[in-house]
Subunit: 593 residues, 2 copies
């Protein structure tokens, strides 16, 4: 059975030595003293390892069962959910006014990574509630907030997001679900939604669905879509639960993974709902939450990669097979451990250097969210809007690849469900798909975000890399050649790709779009390169000052060198592909595939 150990030391290093959170001059950040975050992370790590992780395999094996309209979650989920509620975890970064603890998003993200690594399917129930509550917080009337938020913040009630319909996923303009205005100011919602995560289950007293639907007579397409609050049970004036609303789960899907989370077909049959935000502005209301939701999914890519890596590293240290080519390292044993073999190392270093780089990237992204939301920093807002598709797309693609590599370390044993490595791969797979498939992220990045506000944000990003290099060059030759030179080269590749798009997309936009996935990956590599350069600088400083854990910082530097030497050069191939343009991509008639 796999195990999970929370990366508290690394998270602390990133929060304090790299991001200097408690000095960051963001409202709420001064509370994030080293001791405080240590205590929170320790507690979150404990519940992750001891409560959520042991339930991960149970969730996979048992799955969710629909019987007579009721969905039963796997054994143990209910008690664990209650424990999470009692610990106040769901409301960690929610306003105190509604029962939350008002901590910054960055801390919620650090903690969320642990929960998700320990049990992704389980953590989705509260993650979706968080997203739905966030939408109500941003767009609800005072009355709506008072009515729904306290119980959603605590997860006494959970939430969902209802977008997809059988014939429309990405293209929500095709939506058919309709909302008929009623005399009492409510709407009657009718239609079918599919792929609704946590749509029905037995973990909470009520489920608050946020549903996109079309008010008859409104504009065609995406501009005629509104957002509604549709509870499973109506709520009486006194706050007690009233009658069952006209919404039911018709089917739960058999999926490749995340079996512990119910993926529901939801049937709305004149269900009572209330408009959230403005008429026909449903997409805008959804999009408010999109950056956070997408960063949350990027975090899932990281989290599965980390837990899979941890188990692969343990197996590689433990399993005796073959001898080191440079001489036996375990001469008294029948064989050396797997970890002596260079190709196993290569794989583990791929994983480790990804995981730690990704963690820094996500936490940096989360500070930008906080800076935007809590300090009203427009620049941070623009930058995180640019980086969001990269965080989501790059980290989930790569995160999946890393779980596959971790599984590979186990050889045949990795293919057997018993070791749990298959589950990590199967669970990680969904993150490339939901919350906007990664191709859509790439399209968002290249088709929308690059040019946003006249290209200001991407220019800002390049400036940021440039000034980092300038500020840190010339002090340490090894650091310059190991970290800054590769970062400079990769960033130059990224700029060249951007330049190619600018020159060639005007004549044919396909010249940009055909390179969108490559660009997103390239961008991701540059971000991880920047993160490694920042982490290396912090570790170098700690070593020079003689503070902190020497082995930790030496390991950090060595892992960073690996990333710069072995992973970052990928930008060259991405650039070559992009510069080959759209012609070869678009050459065939559809019939000739």
């Amino acid at each position: 059975m796999p195990s999970y150990s929370a990366p508290t030391k690394d998270t602390q290093f990133i929060l304090h030595d790299v991001l200097n959170v408690s000095d960051a001059k963001i409202p709420g950040y001064d509370e994030l003293e080293r001791d405080f975050t240590q205590a929170v992370l320790d507690e979150a790590g404990k519940i992750s390892s001891e409560v959520l992780s042991p339930l991960n395999a149970v969730g996979d094996t048992e799955g969710c069962v629909l019987e007579n309209g009721i969905v039963r979650t796997p054994r143990g989920f209910k008690a664990a959910f209650e424990q999470m509620r009692e610990g106040g975890w769901p409301g960690l970064d929610m306003p105190e006014e509604y029962g939350g603890q008002n901590m910054p998003y960055v801390l919620g993200t650090a903690v969320g990574e642990m929960f998700s690594a320990a049990n992704q399917a389980f953590t989705m129930y509260q993650g979706l509630t968080h997203g739905a509550a966030g939408a109500i917080l941003a767009h609800g009337t005072d009355r709506q907030k008072a009515a729904w938020l306290p119980k959603m913040v605590s997860c006494e009630w959970t939430g969902t997001m209802n977008l997809t319909e059988p014939h429309c996923g990405t293209d929500l303009g095709l939506m058919r679900t309709r909302a008929e205005p009623q005399d009492d100011g409510s709407y009657a919602i009718t239609g079918q939604k599919i792929f609704i995560s946590a749509g029905e289950h037995d973990l909470a007293g009520n489920i608050i669905h946020l549903v996109l639907a079309r008010i008859p007579g409104g504009p065609e397409g995406i501009k005629g879509v509104s957002l509604f609050i549709v509870p499973k049970f109506l709520v009486n004036e006194d706050g007690t639960l009233g009658e069952r609303n006209g919404v039911a789960c018709g089917h739960i899907e058999e999926k490749m993974g995340i079996h512990g989370n119910s993926t529901c077909v939801m049937n709305y049959d004149g269900a009572k709902g209330w408009l959230l935000g403005k008429e026909h502005k449903g997409m805008r209301a959804m999009f408010t939450m999109m950056n956070e939701a997408r960063i949350g999914v990027g975090m899932q890519g990281l989290s599965q990669a980390d837990v899979a890596y941890q188990n692969a590293a343990a197996y590689a240290r433990d399993r005796l097979q073959g001898r080191a080519v440079t001489g036996a390292e375990n001469p008294d044993g029948p064989a050396d451990p797997l970890i002596v073999h260079p190709d196993i190392r290569r794989s583990l270093m791929d994983q480790k250097s990804f995981v730690e780089g990704a963690r820094a990237f996500i936490l940096w992204g989360a500070t930008l969210i906080d800076r935007a939301h809590r300090a009203g920093d427009k620049e941070a807002d623009g930058l995180v809007s640019l980086l969001t598709p990269v965080i989501k797309g790059f980290l989930t693609d790569q995160g999946f690849d890393m779980t596959v590599q971790a599984q590979q370390v186990f050889g045949g044993h990795g293919y057997i469900e018993e070791t749990g490595m298959s589950q990590f791969v199967r669970d990680a797979r969904i993150a490339m798909i939901y919350e906007g498939a990664n191709g859509v992220q790439a399209l968002d990045l290249v088709g929308r975000k690059l040019a946003q506000d006249g290209g200001k944000h991407v220019m800002g990003f390049f400036d940021l890399v440039k000034s980092f290099i300038k500020d840190n060059a010339g002090q340490d030759e090894a650091y310059d050649s190991d970290f800054l030179d590769p970062l400079k080269a990769a960033s130059k590749d990224l700029q060249a790709a951007g330049m190619y798009f600018m020159k060639n997309a005007m004549s044919n936009p396909n010249n940009a779009l055909a390179g969108s996935t490559d660009f997103m990956h390239m961008f991701g590599h540059v971000c991880l390169g920047l993160m490694w350069a920042r982490m290396a600088r912090a570790s170098r400083a700690a070593l020079d000052a003689g503070t902190g854990d020497t082995a930790f910082h030496e390991t950090k530097l060595a892992t960073g060198r690996y990333y710069m030497a072995r992973r970052l050069p990928m930008t060259a191939t991405h650039l070559a592909r992009i510069e080959s343009g759209a012609d070869t991509v678009m050459a065939l008639d559809a019939a000739n595939f």
Copy 2:
């Protein structure tokens, strides 16, 4: 439900227009006239699409069930297996003497690709039998051949390979299963073998296990391992089945995929067995079959990628979502089909250009096997021995990635088991692991095959690429720049990597081994580049001559151009990684992972 359509046209093109099989001057190849192979492939395609493909999902859903020592295969497998037997498919490339049809291996491979694409788990039952029969054919006494082969060639009895034990996979020197010599010349085999595909099932009257075991008193390690024939039922003098042998299936594994094939723990308890080949030479006997078995697994990588690609292309043509950025292509419909979007194209072109390149590569490899075995060509033997780890490792890694890409085209629908895309991914995953995990393939390539016979074979490969370029350059400017220039560049990268190994592995062998997986992939890309250059030349010639199907050849050229422009440049990144050496890979203490 997914469907499968056999790629007969493409296979015919490769066999006849690219490999010119019927003129190849290999015994048996003159029978491979265009009409003849067309008839065989048509028949194989028919049974693949109509019989095997519909059983693929059944096999996945039902899996195999062990009850009271008996393994029940999924519904319909028995009848289909009988149909395959009646059609004589299992013995297609086996000697007539034992009931086979004596066709060349290349034809068996072309047909095997279809069967495997339609139903990998099912096809393994006969594939493993083929491998076991091949070992008996190569190493058995006349009496053994007469006793076992006729029924194995027809698949009336099936076969298995028993290598792995709980504590040893790759490192077979750690093996513990023992074989005690008996007075009657047989051996009593005792021990436990795991991960035995098709170890027990209800498809055949008898199962002939080939088992590696240790004769007490023999050399330690891998040099003391012998191979034994151990039937499930002993066979009487008159050929009828006798008593049950001391071998039983103790457990079947729950796996990520290939559920339709039983993966067994086999317990040997004094089972009667007979030595196959010489005492203590068991590994050599196993290795005889290794090239074919590994090419067979490489073929599985291709086969799953092809069937997944076919379904993704169909979905992309059918599913309406969004509008082409260059203007609506389906203006009368609610949206354009997915296939108008450049990133979907990019993905489908990745898949298509891989599948067709891989098919050519495997069929070329199969002709080298035939040349070696049927014409005693030592050069072909050396070359295919060099290429085997590339075929196995590169094609299964890439094949898996392509099934993941195909699944991605389906968005959320790809994650639902109902569409079948998840099964392709889960089934494809095993091919990267069994028959020598891909890291072991890379090690075999770099640690053994490169230097084999003084590096003669790799030099031979480079010469072959060089002469191909020389022979074909200067006739057609577009062909030179689209195909030969990229091939030259990629081949130069590969040579530079080999040069790096030569210069740096002497001082530290890890400098080569840390780059082994990159080298294997690089080599694979160069091989696919060569195949595309050969296919393009053949299509160009057909177009110039005005023969054949214009659309087919134009599509072939366009697909090849894509591969050369978008996939082949990957060699640059592999080279950069390799040239960064082992230092960053090996830097950490095992405890610091």
